[in-house]
């Protein structure tokens, strides 16, 4: 089980540690880093213990840092940067008609590479570029095959002005097999290390599009896509207007009926049970608050046939917490979960979500929660 939590927030990076024994609270903040800076994402690399964080400085741009000692000390590393935009290239945002700036606007996804590829990292950004590092972030290369795909230019912003690549799943069976989620650009997959990509969002449905475009794979808005570690053909997606599941490696997706709603941002899948997944639902896209002011976690243990609403330890009156897409995590045991919210609450469960303990009610807005060793 993981005894450490890293929490990236609007105002810094927080480390929480679990105390030994029964004394409550079990989880306490034990370190603060980059206080007052906007930490958009954090990655504890479970392969070597390194930690990576991306900071978005309003004026000075995105910067990345790496720690080799679990977060005690940090060194600046390279930031993914786009190549020069070719003169005369007609690359315009479909929504606004404005030219797409080839600049890293936000680091929205950060994942370790396959265990066989020591030091490899993957990074997703706004405006939609995927980057790879083979040297623990000392340098980054844009995955040009995906960026230069003509269908990429059809992507539009979802929740942000620019399109963004927020989910990266590296297949545990094969380092060359990588799946990414894009808002709004569906789900894309490569099986040859990034040479060729295919949009794999068949079956997803977009209620925000006219009927003839509703099933267009390249317009889908999966808020978050996760892959089961031990059944890697099973994927779960919390989509803008529904919950979807694939059991055939994203060849097709099936829509499920969430409870109490199907709207939300975050999803986590049990590492050993592909039928078990957790969600933190909101009312709907135009009401991004918990249903009836009650913070709940929704869990299915049967592949989405039914959902249990988990409330023990969570506020059930006048609570308006929303969990963003990277703000829910499950550890390698499948028993410990944590989620943080836009209003600075952080809850941890040590029994698969049956009950929750408050770790903090006063954090800055939480963007990402990750268990670490």
């Amino acid at each position: 089980m993981s005894d450490r939590l890293l929490v990236a927030t609007r105002k810094g990076l927080f480390t929480l540690s679990r105390g030994k024994g029964r004394a409550r609270p079990h989880w306490r903040i034990t370190r603060t880093s980059f206080l007052a800076d906007n930490a958009s994402i954090v990655l504890p690399d479970l392969r070597d213990g390194h930690v990576y964080v991306a900071l978005g400085h309003g004026h000075f741009g995105v910067k990345m840092h790496r720690s080799r000692d679990g977060g005690k000390t940090w060194q600046p590393i390279a930031t993914p940067a786009y190549p020069p935009k070719p003169e005369g290239l007609d690359d315009r945002d479909p929504n606004t008609g404005r030219p797409v700036a080839w600049n890293t606007d936000l680091v929205w996804a950060l994942e370790s590479g396959h265990p066989s590829e020591d030091g490899t990292l993957w990074c997703g950004t706004l405006p939609g570029g995927l980057f790879r590092s083979r040297d623990r972030g000392d340098s980054w290369q844009l995955v040009e095959s995906l960026w230069n795909d003509p269908k990429r230019r059809e992507w539009v912003g979802g929740g942000a002005e620019l399109p963004g690549l927020h989910s990266i799943c590296v297949d545990p069976r094969d380092a060359r097999h990588v799946t990414v989620g894009v808002s709004c650009g569906g789900v894309w997959m490569t099986k040859d290390g990034g040479a060729r990509w295919e949009c794999r969002a068949k079956g997803m449905r977009a209620t925000y599009m006219p009927p003839e475009r509703a099933y267009d794979p390249n317009i889908q808005d999966p808020h978050c896509v996760v892959q089961c570690a031990t059944s890697p053909d099973v994927f779960w997606a919390q989509h803008h207007n529904g919950i979807f599941r694939s059991t055939d490696g994203c060849a097709s997706w099936q829509e499920l009926s969430g409870k109490p709603s199907s709207f939300g941002f975050a999803v986590a899948v049990h590492p050993r049970d592909p039928d078990t997944a957790w969600f933190v639902p909101g009312v709907s896209d135009e009401h991004r608050i918990p249903p009836k002011g009650k913070v709940v976690v929704s869990r299915t243990r049967n592949g989405g046939k039914s959902f249990q609403i988990l409330t023990k330890g969570l506020p059930q009156t006048q609570a308006y917490d929303l969990a963003y897409r990277h703000a829910l995590d499950v550890d390698e045991s499948g028993e410990r979960l944590a989620f943080g919210t836009t209003t600075g609450s952080l809850w941890v469960s040590e029994n698969g979500g049956d009950s929750w303990e408050t770790a903090s009610e006063h954090l800055p807005p939480v963007y990402a929660v990750r268990f670490a060793h």
């Binding site: 400085h57 000075f60 020069p84 080839w102």
Partner: protein
């Protein structure tokens, strides 16, 4: 030679002491400065080499106009100030 100063706010992240630099344009002057302080470049310029959206550059009190190619002239002994724009929060 131009005298180049940077906003105090940038110093929290990276040391950018005042310096002298030769150059006939903003781009030439900043290139000289960044040659001696390479990490500072990405704090001021974006991936395409333009002034970051929420940064501003003044030459003798006038905000530069060419933010993409940095072609505004820099007179000898000019004061070049690299500041943060309040649009960035």
């Amino acid at each position: 030679m131009a005298h180049v100063t940077f906003t105090q706010n940038i110093q929290r992240h990276i040391a950018c002491p005042p310096c002298q630099a030769l150059g006939a344009t903003v781009g030439e002057v900043l290139e000289r400065v960044f040659a001696g302080n390479p990490r500072a470049r990405d704090y001021v310029l974006d991936d395409q080499g333009a002034v970051r959206r929420h940064m501003v550059v003044f030459v003798d009190g006038r905000q530069i106009r060419d933010r993409a190619r940095l072609s505004d002239p820099v007179p000898p002994d000019a004061e070049v100030c690299v500041m943060q724009a309040l649009s960035g929060g």
